[in-house]
Symmetry: C2
Subunit: 472 residues, 2 copies
Amino acid sequence: MIPSQESIAIAGAGLVGSLLGVYLAQRGYRVDLYEGRPDPRIGNVYQGRSINLALSDRGWAALEKVGLAQAIRAEAIPMVERVIHGIDGSLTTQPYGEAGQAIYSVSRAGINQRLISLAEQHEQVSLHFEYRLTQVDFASGTAGFDTPAGTVQIAPQRLFGADGANSKIRRLMQELPRMNFSLETMDVAYIELNIPANADGSHQLGPIEALHIWPRDQFMLIALPNLDGSFTCTLFMDFDGPNSFASLQGAPAIQAFFETQFPDVAALLETPAQHFIERAPSPLALVDVYPWVQANRICLIGDACHAIVPFYGQGMNAGFEDCRILDELLEQMEGDWEQVLPAFQQSRKANVAAIATLAKRNYIEMSRLTGQPSFLLRKKIEAKFSRKYPKLWVPLYTMVTFRPEIPYAEALRIGDEQSAIMDEIMTIPDIEQHWDEDWVLAKLYQLACRQWGQALTFHSSHRSCSDAKADG
Amino acid sequence: MIPSQESIAIAGAGLVGSLLGVYLAQRGYRVDLYEGRPDPRIGNVYQGRSINLALSDRGWAALEKVGLAQAIRAEAIPMVERVIHGIDGSLTTQPYGEAGQAIYSVSRAGINQRLISLAEQHEQVSLHFEYRLTQVDFASGTAGFDTPAGTVQIAPQRLFGADGANSKIRRLMQELPRMNFSLETMDVAYIELNIPANADGSHQLGPIEALHIWPRDQFMLIALPNLDGSFTCTLFMDFDGPNSFASLQGAPAIQAFFETQFPDVAALLETPAQHFIERAPSPLALVDVYPWVQANRICLIGDACHAIVPFYGQGMNAGFEDCRILDELLEQMEGDWEQVLPAFQQSRKANVAAIATLAKRNYIEMSRLTGQPSFLLRKKIEAKFSRKYPKLWVPLYTMVTFRPEIPYAEALRIGDEQSAIMDEIMTIPDIEQHWDEDWVLAKLYQLACRQWGQALTFHSSHRSCSDAKADG
């Protein structure tokens, strides 16, 4: 079938739906993008909230492939490091990668509006706002929408559910026989807070090109910079138990909590106690569903089938990567959807499961470990070793964030192997004093070669001990 | 609060709901049992299908505690062994336990009708049929039903969701924030078949007091005896793939399949090819949800919160055990529901997770391993060792089936430890020739003592090496 004669419907003009629309239009398909909400470029559907997200290399790779990276880069702020704020006001920095590497703070609303406009520029893309999907016939692939003009039925050749973590298509799909589904809600929840810009539009907090963290074990505050001079902050803490949204009651106690726990930023936050009281904590949930594809016609994508928690900054990036991989498969399989959709599901399943696992684990890293000297030392040893043997040792964060060619599942596996090796290194007596001595790196080299030197199954394109010798 | 002044509503008058009604009435509560379907004692709600279940000691323990065991035993057929039918027509038997131990084949419809009648005899129990639950207010604990006489609202002190694997209360609960839920559908599905009785009411297949299995790796047939001289058979096989419900097409091929695979029973089955074609394969699903309790007023129980697959014969038994444990907690905590419901959930969660795991694994054992000589030998060695050291080694099947005092989670843990030990025993060269020699048992004794001899955390009431010395 000639792509231009195939009509594809996408439910959801969010981040993934819009980008998918561009991808499919560029391959020549006719694309209809249906969005339940009004056009976000008119009025403010985000109700004044300024959510931002971290865009990193997997996201960039997906944007670049369809030529959108430059347009998005114009509204992104690089964050080259974590800045960790101690309870005593001390600052510690931890670079995210090597020189030139950064993750980027983007406005969720801004990037979505931009992606919708970019999709709209394609003549094969039609946008339909206020189309609320209500019904799907999974055998025939038809779907029904409530619209301001009444009910509308569509019968596209393919239908994608890019309708987010609370996907209506997925919830309808769950009622089919033979479905597998899981929803996991974390004990930790969040509210958003704000550090406004100075009167001249400059940032009140520095450094600007950083992700700021106030790790406090049971809870944490983070701040990401915005282009308008503000920072968007997120307070993560448990719903209930000690030090929780439930246990912290009354404006004076809440104000005191901010001043005690976040002394260097409490005065910069916009009415934190008031927001703490007024804003209901939002839950964080992970969604896992299988299969993603029904009758080779209807396919879930992005958060609709693999919503994760935000602690690795990979939710949007994983969804964008879905689009890039789907496009790769369309090319390889010459647009044969009967092959493409099962292959897409197969290819993505283990990888999105791996990033779900990594994202859950990273809450511990962010809220607790980044505040511990032994953890920072461990990362410093790894970074030094990696600089010396860049092919033998790519730190886990780097694999996930800066190396889109390494699938998430492989990053997870290698990361676990690295972790076991670093556990052994950290048992060296007085490692704090000796870490910078040559024999420590020699020991690490020996352990790494024992792990990977002979392992033929190991992804040799990334690194090997013979490469390492060349490195060193 | 005095129990007689507390009203408790139970949604679902199935096996668990009816038994729970009896338990709570015996503690003095006023109980309303609401069932969506008509009274199963009038007409036949099972549409002529004769499902049977295996009732074992956990179920009996729960029935005995409220004095119902004798009434149920009258309609149960003991099954003392597995009878394994080879493809060549050979028979192998494998006792389920020691002399006097059996699992019992009961009719699902029969036991349910009996339990409803027994519940009805309590003056504190009121039965309400054709009350279809449609709505629950989880904060206030009120619920709404559609009834033949219109909509009815209730406001009980407590509400139990005993409404089965497809529980409406659970599906409503899933929409609340902070829920965790998983639904897992197996690749294997089933249809029921029938071996009718002889004209004189006797059984066509023997032995009668047995569970018959035709294990064929990729699929299996089982048969359980009924009191009316018939056997209910279940054919388990994959939905699709090779040797599946999807791949087997057309009456001649299906008839040939039965004759080739089940040569000794094909002629006894009632029109198997016709039933194979007409009956849609039923999926087998596992349900896991958390929490079970909302606002300390509404609580799920039985399949509604922990539906499992049938391969360990423990679904009904686990649900009955729920009732017994809840009753124990009501006694210990003197009817303080604020304590009882969280404790119930806490106590049952790990145990029902363990039986879910065991039940999934047992499909492999039943369909594949029971057909393998090495597996049967392994079981024979275990049985012999267990007879010699009954406190040191209780086989996993025995712990699960005949030892209600051992929680499922502990049975699973100990079973895994036993399995590792038996793996080692089975590596003995020519074990087939030597298994009955004393040194093999001595080696097993040594391994068992190494595992448990020093383990203070081990549940010492069950067995220990010092006990074993007393045994031996």
